[in-house]
């Protein structure tokens, strides 16, 4: 019996004290950078704003690189780019925009803003009420709006906030599913100035 104990003790020592080397995971769900590009429909310079979250799950808050400055009365087309900067630039996980587009039937962008900063759409957006007006320029395969592309006409000179929310609504997305349906993938608020 004593012998068997010794044998076991030796075996224990052989199992070693080093943890197995973990393999680095790709993290496709992490969005660390969101870029809003407002392109003037009649031509002109794009207006770009970016929100970044350099530490992902860390305690640091997100950073927004400035306000959205639009020209009064101008018609813009807004397109969104969602990036995971933790992935390699060549990796398919880098640009999450495509993934959201491919799974359009499960995703929906909601927009909310201070009343009157836009002349079209009017109102304050569909975050508080899904039925409110937002000019979606794209659709999922089921014909429901998605919101990676939208159009906006700036109102008269004013300022306020502009908020976008991306909801993940697997099997929940309908013509009436609202901001409380599903899980939140993005929720960012920007300052907006109409000059």
């Amino acid at each position: 019996m004593t012998k068997s104990i010794i044998v076991f003790l030796i075996a224990f020592a052989f199992w070693g004290c080093e943890a197995e080397e973990p393999v680095k995971e790709d993290v496709p769900e992490l969005i660390t950078k969101v870029t809003l590009t407002f392109t003037p429909v009649g031509g002109g310079t794009d207006v770009l704003v970016t929100a970044t979250d350099p530490d992902g799950e860390g305690v640091e808050n997100i950073k927004v690189d400035g306000a959205i400055n639009l020209a009064a009365g101008t018609n813009y087309r807004l397109s969104l780019t969602l990036i995971n900067e933790l992935a390699e630039m060549s990796s398919p996980e880098y640009d999450i925009t495509d993934e959201v587009e491919d799974e359009g039937a499960e995703h929906l962008f909601f927009y909310g803003w201070t009343s009157n900063v836009f002349s079209n759409p009017t109102g304050d957006g569909n975050i508080d009420n899904r039925a409110d007006e937002v000019n979606y320029e794209d659709m999922d395969e089921g014909g429901l709006p998605l919101g990676l592309a939208t159009s906006w006409t700036a109102g008269v000179a004013s300022s306020g906030t502009f908020r976008l929310i991306l909801k993940h609504q697997p099997q929940l997305k309908t013509a009436t599913s609202d901001v409380n349906t599903g899980e939140t993938d993005l929720d960012i608020t920007f300052e907006i100035n109409i000059n």
Partner: protein
């Protein structure tokens, strides 16, 4: 002979003599469950399925034997034991003076002052079909932390997870205990009894038992030829649950001493139901089997045990939430999102898939120089957690962990002396935790190796009328952890801990009707890797958790020497007083448990990422105090009617911060009235029982900060946590509730087969309620009325 002894697989005092035999009725039928007690040792056992009993380790002396069985006349006689004695005892029915068996479970214990409770026989049979954690709730002082109807984590005197040790067949259960939604991976059908030790004195089993120990004991293996078995069938209306569990065992012809056993359980449940709506996606699928084989004779024994446990558990769909806004919506909505108006057995994301394998080899030998016991165990635990994720990722687990654990234990005990005994031994453990690649998430906990060892000594001695026990142990633990931080950058750290645990106990039988026991113990536990390195969110918690080693501001993983970490240590005192009269007996115990450097998740603030706002929790240390009392009693109102009240009181506080603690079970009161008619026509052991359980509101719940307040604060740029770091909860503690239970049952004997039939109703009045310690309380009501039908065949 296979014996339903209450003894531990380890740690019995033995003299050389064995007192064995059978307990039968006049017609020669075995009296299963008849109790036999040998005084003055107080040792007792219950006759097994064949009426057999064995009391080993009996010193040569003259003894008083008391044999009791419900509905039969008590038999008392004297026996002189100088060598092995085998005796057949026949009991005569006692219709006139039906007396309750008051030989309430006498358990053989090394540490006699331990405060313990046993779930066995009828009580255990009543929990058939329930999970281990849920079954344990029957014991006063034991509660659970629940994550819906399928996940129960035992809580002893207010502490849980890493602070409760579970021994399965004598082996420390090693799974991913750190998560509140991680239940023990044990099939309760393998147990012939479950012992809960409610103090910290179980020094032989290692560190961590700050709150207590749950010991799952199997029946002993058969030693002589013959075939026996049990079949359990359980059906439940709520969740439309079906359970089938079978056991077959026997000896081997011409191989005296050899025995084997095969056992298996299958379980399937679908969506549970509250009084008003389905809890969509709360199904369970479970498949377990075990087998053992061994040889035993009077001085030596050897046994191999192999078991496999596998479960799939669905988690309420409506808790699939991401940020604070989602939580606001989920809490203000009833029924929860995604609730179906139909029943389904489907288990969808979010869900867990857990498997646990155990191989145990053990042996013991009694020599003139002492008794030797050795056991080796290998455990393989796999846990996968699936969340609702983008597209194809839903089929990919967000947590995928494999944990392999080797344990080796050996102990030596002095050859038995009636007055004194000494037991010394060591335990070793090697553990390897690996994150299986492919989750496409930064792992919540790192890969690690845990290498631990300990030595212990326990002494027991008798002075006058008092039995004293003293014990001490030293433990060492080494960790190497390798993981990825928030930037997905690798870290690799090694460190170790060492410390001692001590226990002292004393007990005495003041007179035949009164006994007293005290225990004072101090034990420690090394921190779990999850408490040091946790990063991120897990299974729909809508909160981010950070380990102790993550820097407050930069989030970088720090060296353990650079943080103010201190070992968690408990100082627990328990006192128990037992008293019995002719028709009434009670047990009262009081405890205080002071835990220094208690590690817990403390709400620290709110953080913002691109998905929105989250509250975040940091593992922090404080001094915590748990004070409480347990009371149980049996009052034999008439010969056939008994009333059993049970009370559990608990108060927990954060001493350092003059604050409360979270998820502390509230006070619980229950009273059961039972009518028994042991022999009516062909029906045996007929009973009707009604129980009312009242669970008080937790009056010492944390202050409330609703998600809406946090959210509105965040919108206005106010951190609602600033300037007040008191602990908080998202909602007030739910109101008190009372549940009514009703059950009836009887046994029939037909052609050497015994059938136990039982019908029960839980939450008979279909009361709507929410339990404070159920993590689903934020989203949905608890389950409504449930009917259970169970059939047990013993042959």
């Amino acid at each position: 002979m296979f014996l339903l002894s209450f003894g531990f697989a380890f740690g019995q005092n033995r003299c050389a003599n064995i007192f064995s035999g059978r307990i039968l009725d006049e017609s020669g039928e075995p009296l299963i469950g008849a109790a036999i007690v040998l005084d003055p040792t107080g040792k007792g056992v219950v006759a097994d399925l064949n009426g057999n009993f064995t009391l080993s380790g009996i010193c040569s002396d003259l003894y008083h034997v008391t044999v009791q069985f419900l509905g039969y006349q008590e038999q008392v006689f004297e026996v002189r034991i100088n060598a092995n004695v085998n005796k057949t005892i026949t009991l005569v029915p006692d219709v006139e003076t039906l007396k309750e068996v008051v030989v309430s479970e006498k358990v053989e214990h090394l540490e006699t002052s331990q405060n313990y409770a046993v779930l066995s026989g009828e009580k255990l049979a009543e929990t058939a079909g329930k999970s281990l954690g849920e079954s344990l709730q029957e014991i006063s002082g034991v509660n659970t932390i629940q994550s819906g109807p399928g996940i129960f984590k035992p809580v002893i005197h207010g502490v849980h997870s890493q602070r409760v040790l579970i021994l399965n067949h004598g082996i420390r259960q090693e799974g991913q205990q750190w998560g509140a939604e991680h239940a023990p991976e044990i099939d309760p059908f393998i147990a012939s009894n479950i012992v809960v030790v409610k103090d910290a004195s179980s020094i032989k089993y290692g560190t961590d038992a700050l709150g207590g120990v749950v010991i799952v004991n199997p029946a002993e293996l058969p030693q002589s030829p013959g075939l026996g078995g049990t079949l359990n069938l359980v059906g439940q209306s709520n969740g439309r649950l079906g359970t089938i569990s079978g056991l077959l065992e026997g000896g081997i012809k011409n191989r005296e001493g050899w025995g084997w056993r095969l056992q298996g359980t299958g379980k399937r449940a679908g969506d549970y139901h509250t009084p008003d709506y389905f809890l969509t996606n709360t199904g369970i699928k479970e498949l377990n089997f075990s087998t053992s084989m061994g040889y035993h004779d009077e001085t030596k024994g050897f046994e191999v045990f192999v078991s496999h446990f596998r479960t799939d558990i669905g988690i309420l769909k409506g808790i699939a939430i991401s940020n604070l806004d989602d939580l606001v919506a989920a809490m203000e909505r009833e029924p929860p999102q995604s609730t179906n108006d139909f029943f389904s057995y489907n288990i969808d994301e979010p869900r867990q898939h857990v498997s646990h394998n155990l191989v145990k080899v053990s042996g013991h030998k009694e020599t003139d120089h002492g008794d030797w016991r050795v056991q080796y165990g290998f455990q393989n635990n796999n846990r996968r957690e699936y969340d609702i994720r983008k597209g194809d990722l839903s089929g990919v687990p967000s947590i995928d962990l494999k944990l392999n654990t080797h344990t080796l234990e050996a102990e030596w005990e002095t050859p038995h002396h009636p007055a004194n005994s000494l037991c010394v031994g060591f335990n070793g453990m090697h553990q390897n935790n690996v994150n299986i690649y492919g989750t496409q998430r930064i792992p919540f906990i790192p890969n690690y190796v845990n290498f631990s060892g300990g030595v212990f000594g326990v002494a027991k001695f008798i002075r006058k009328d008092w039995v004293f026990d003293l014990g001490g142990r030293y433990d060492y633990r080494f960790y190497n952890a390798k993981g990825y931080d928030f930037k997905n950058a690798l870290y690799d750290e090694s460190f170790s801990f060492e410390n001692v645990s001590l226990t002292a106990g004393a007990s005495t039988q003041l007179d035949p009707n009164r006994s007293l026991a005290f225990n004072l113990s101090t034990s420690w536990r090394p921190p779990h890797v999850a408490e040091l390195y946790s990063l991120g969110t897990h299974q729909s918690a809508a909160a981010i958790e950070y380990g102790l080693l993550l820097n407050d501001t930069t989030n970088e993983v720090m060296d353990i020497n650079d943080v103010s970490f201190q070992i968690e240590r408990a100082l627990k005192a328990v006192g128990t007083y037992k008293r019995q009269w002719r028709n009434f007996q009670f047990e009262l115990s009081g405890f205080t448990n002071y835990i220094f450097n208690y590690i817990y998740l403390r709400p620290t603030g709110i953080t913002q990422n691109l998905r929105g706002t989250y509250p975040y929790f940091r593992y922090t240390q404080t001094d915590a105090l748990f004070v409480g009392a347990d009371f149980t009693a049996v009052w034999n109102l008439t010969r056939r009617i008994k009333v059993s009240p049970q009370v559990s009181l608990l108060r927990a506080s954060d001493v350092t911060n003059h604050d409360v603690l979270t998820y502390i079970p509230s006070n619980k009161y229950e009273v059961a009235v039972r009518f028994e008619e042991p022999n009516q026509f062909a029906l045996k052991k007929f009973f009707v029982e009604s129980k009312i359980k009242y669970v008080a509101k937790q009056q010492n719940a944390p202050r409330v900060i609703t998600p809406r307040q946090i959210q509105e604060g965040a919108e206005q740029g106010i951190d609602v946590f600033a300037g007040n770091d008191q602990i908080f909860d998202f909602m007030p503690a739910p109101d008190a509730y009372a549940l009514v239970y009703l059950s009836t049952g009887f046994s029939i004997d037909r052609k050497k087969i015994r059938y136990d039939i039982r019908l029960a109703a839980e939450n008979l009045l279909n009361t709507e309620y929410r339990e404070y310690t159920n993590r689903l309380k934020y989203y949905a009501d608890d389950i409504g009325r449930n009917f259970t039908v169970s059939l047990k065949c013993v042959f």
